[in-house]
Each structure stands twice: as structure tokens, then as C-alpha cells.
Subunit: 139 residues, 4 copies
Amino acid sequence: MTEDELARINASFDAQAMMTTLGATIADISRGQVVIEAPILPGSLQQQGFGHAGLTFSIGDSAAGYAALTTMAPENEVVTAEIKINLLAPARGDYLRATGRVIKPGKRLVVVSSEVHAITGSDAVLIAVLQGTMVPVPR
Amino acid sequence: MTEDELARINASFDAQAMMTTLGATIADISRGQVVIEAPILPGSLQQQGFGHAGLTFSIGDSAAGYAALTTMAPENEVVTAEIKINLLAPARGDYLRATGRVIKPGKRLVVVSSEVHAITGSDAVLIAVLQGTMVPVPR
Amino acid sequence: MTEDELARINASFDAQAMMTTLGATIADISRGQVVIEAPILPGSLQQQGFGHAGLTFSIGDSAAGYAALTTMAPENEVVTAEIKINLLAPARGDYLRATGRVIKPGKRLVVVSSEVHAITGSDAVLIAVLQGTMVPVPR
Amino acid sequence: MTEDELARINASFDAQAMMTTLGATIADISRGQVVIEAPILPGSLQQQGFGHAGLTFSIGDSAAGYAALTTMAPENEVVTAEIKINLLAPARGDYLRATGRVIKPGKRLVVVSSEVHAITGSDAVLIAVLQGTMVPVPR
């Protein structure tokens, strides 16, 4: 990844107010893979006191979207066409980590996956898997 | 729906801090259908200035989950096993409205759908459809 | 629908050997909606003696795909980008009927849904719902 | 895997007439992973002469289902609750190979994935990915 490419992705991420609301940050960017981390804020909980599915979805979807963006031409932004999430375990721990990956790049459609882990100390529990389709749109 | 049933769902919803963060409220509850509305808050935007997919997902998922809960025995809470979202149009307008419905009730699995509209004045644009599976869990 | 449009869809369907293998036929075509019916052949069963998920999927997917094709420019064929199926009840009865519908037409992506019913006499039981994305490709 | 466990899975597979229709066979069984292979028969084609999505789905779904069954108690059969497929490339080549894996075992729900490759000589092209939920049912 060039400095320009990294700057483009970081700028797009920083413009997502929702990520700020959730306290999410980009932890790693490489070609075809992006890692996003987020705390489980008091304002991100569901009714049982765990992280809300909307939190898990938001960072899983964003990690997958930015992974797709790393494979797109620089004049593009990325939007989610569709994505499916299977929730495997409650979102509890020190923080959440979403790892988005490109399964199949393409000019019109980019197929992606994402894994979300709940991290407690040195322990990582897989709490969700996502599979979806990202599409390029003009910036 | 009895007063008790309505109170149970409202109490569960009120305990979801994420819904408060997003400004979401329950607009209607009937057997097998729940409507949730949310503004497009400055803190809920994506990088192009529209509502984030995470906002649309969160209210669509919650509406579907509470629709499922209206069909479950009173000792249960509900969690999402899996759900898929197809995003159809940008989330822009006065506010968003998610209508969750039960397609197939069941003791172990409740299959649900949800439609999310963006409302501008008297105009409602369908911006997302969701299809998923809810499961009962002990309260 | 013009005669030309109907002929184009019927010709495409007739070229699908898989539909012949499954005994499937087109029962109805209108703009944005296509109905496909299929018997539950001895060669289409799963291990418990009901119709195989692959049968239900195949006709549900094809009905949705041809519904999408009715909204595409005539120089196009259609392929499935992605589709999700929730199976609700066993595939048993006289025959299956899949009704595919366009939720959102588009130049690059067409979002579709499909319902599959098992028909026994005058009784129709909803056995599966599908939600997916079709894309136009050159013929 | 014990002989009994292998026999149980092979017997269930052999009872699936749909697998016979498609020419599919089990190529490998281990705890949490099952591989199914199928030729692209003349009767399994779509309108452009490639393997039908229904073929790819059927073996991908079955491989994931039997992978789930390897983790279930012996008195159970398995059915698909829901599964989503993203199609990545045309189904063409010498034959197809579906590898189903268990992502998360469970008493009530087993979350699974499946990859389908088209094999041509020593070349394997990923043509589809599936993500779904299997549930145990009494035999």
C-alpha cells in the first residue's frame, strides 16, 4: 500500500461519524485486508448488557468495506450492496476486533468476508462472521 | 397484545443503550410486527454524509427481533442468530422507519423480515430489506 | 410484456437443462414477477424423503432471476450474484411453486426476493423465502 | 471419526436421491469438514452452458450440512435452517468440489461455511462461498 492509498482510506474512515460514535479505529490496513477495533462502550449495549449486534455489524461491515476499497481504483468510494452476519457468541470482553478480507475482487462487485472477535486479555473469541458484496461508487 | 406484553417489550427496548445512542424509538407494536423509528443523527453518518449502514441495520434488526419477541413465550428474551441486509438506496431524509415482521414463528427459530424506509415529508423510500433468524433465550 | 420479451425469457429458461432435470416449468411471467412450478420428483429428494433444499433453491433462484430479467434491457442475460434462503418447512405435497419478485430494479444490480410454496390440493404452505441480488451480463 | 460415524453419514448421503441425480459423491469426511465432488452433467447446466447455480448450491449446502452432522449426537439428522451463497465465477471445468466446514458447533444451531471450487486438471478456481446455519432434527 502506498502512502496515498493509506491516506485515502484513513480519510474516508475519519469521515464516518458513526465510527467515532462507536469509538472504532483502524488497527491495520494491507492490500485486501483491514482490521478495525472498537471498545464496547456503555452506549453500544443491548438489553442483556453485551455489545449490540449493531456494533458488531457496524465494525464488521466497515472492515469488509475498507478491505474492498484497498482493491479498487483510487477514484472510487465503496458502499455495501449486501451483507449477512451470523452471530456466534455474546459481544463481551475488553474490546472487539473486526478483520475484513477480500474473497474476490472485481470491477463491479467485490465479494468480502469479515470475522469479529471479542478480545479479553490475550484471549480472542470469534463472535460473528459476515459475508457480503461491496460495490465501487464515484467519490 | 396485553399491557404486560407491551410493557415487557418496551422494557427490553429501553434497556438497549444502543437504541438510545441512535435516538431510536418504538413507534408501533402488534402481534408479529414492530415499527422502530430513528433520526439520522450527526453521529450516525457514513463518509458520504448519509446514514451509516450500521444505523439502518441496527433498527432493521431490532424491529425484526422485537417482532419475533411478540410471538415468544413471556419468559424469553430474543437474540439474532443471523440476518442479511440488502441496501437499496442512501439513508437520507427526515428520519428512518424500520418495520419488522414475523414470517414464520417457531419454538426454536423465528424467521423474520424487515423493511427500512427513509421518510421525507409524506414520501417513503425503501432503502433496505433484511431477512433473518431470531432465537429465544432465557431472560 | 411483449411477445418478444416473453419469447426471450422462455428461450433462456428452455436452455437451462437443470430446469428440465427437475421437471420445472414457467407458470407465469409478468413485469417484475415470474412463477416457476416443479414436481417433487423421486430424483429430487433428500434423505428424509422430502424435496431437497437444492430443488427448492433452484426454482426459487430461477424465479427471482427471471423476474429480474423482465426488468433488464433486451441485450442482457441474468446471473445470480448472491442469494440467501431461509427454509421454513419440509418440501412435501403435490408440487412446489416459486414466485420471484423484483424489489429494486437497477442497471448494475437488481435486488430480488422469492417465495416457495408447497402445494397440496388447494392448500399452499410457505416453505422457503429467498432474498438476493441479480446482475445483468451480456447474452 | 469412528466406523459407525462414517457409516451413518454415508448412509444419509446415499439416501439423498438429489445427490445421485447430480452425480455427487462424498470425497472426504473428517470431524467438522466434509468434501463432496460432482461432475457438471449435461442435465445440470444453466442457459449459458455452465453449471447451474442450483448444482453449486446443492453440493455446497450438502457439504456444509454433513460437516455439521459430524459434530452432532448420533441420534440426529441435519437440516438447513438458512444458507447464503455468493457466486464468484462460472461453474466450468472437469468437476466441482465443495468443502463444508463447521465454524461454530452447538446443540441447537451449527454455523457452517462452504467453498466450492471448479477443478480443471490441477487447477482449482473458487466459484462460490456459502455461509449458513444447520439444525439437528430427530432421525
